[in-house]
Amino acid sequence: MICIPTTKARRRYTRRLAPTMAIYLVFLFIAQWTFHHHPPTGFVVYLLAVLPALPLIGSLAIVGLYITEESDEFERSVLVQSMLWGFGGALAVSTIWGFLEDFAKASHLPTFYVYVFFWILMAISQPFIRMRYR
């Protein structure tokens, strides 16, 4: 079994990420509810539309903070490698999907799914990266 060790920096990372994701859910609810019940106009449309994205951007900054705070260089290296898999994989999937939309009439995928792909691929890659060092 691949075990992900708990370091001080990782605990701080989890403590920061959990409330950020909770804020995301609240912002998403506020945006959806407002657009459904009281559709805004003018500048507020853009402000409200971007609102759920802010905590998600914050989550990327939290990953960045973790990298700077993690004193265990091996753990840092594993995370950076998994991030590269996440970034590369997300770009690859979205590029392939873009061409599928253009040429094969695949259904349109909202751009924010790149963020989802990033996290999924980053999470999937970690155990494989760790296996290389066993």
Binding site: C3, P5, S71, E73, F74, S77, Y133
Partner: protein, 64 residues
Amino acid sequence: MKNRLRILRAERNWSQADLAERLEVSRQSVNAIETGKYDPSLPLAFKLARLFNSPIETIFTDEE
């Protein structure tokens, strides 16, 4: 990079977890270094050298 960590650890009757605690890294880090699959940075290599009271070049050898 090959190293003598396993021997040095055994001489002191330390487990990987014991060494990890002394180095303030995870046990997986110690295992990765010990098996030669991860080369530590200079600061960590110096920390190991200080811990085992041996010069770096007697702990690590640059042969594959």
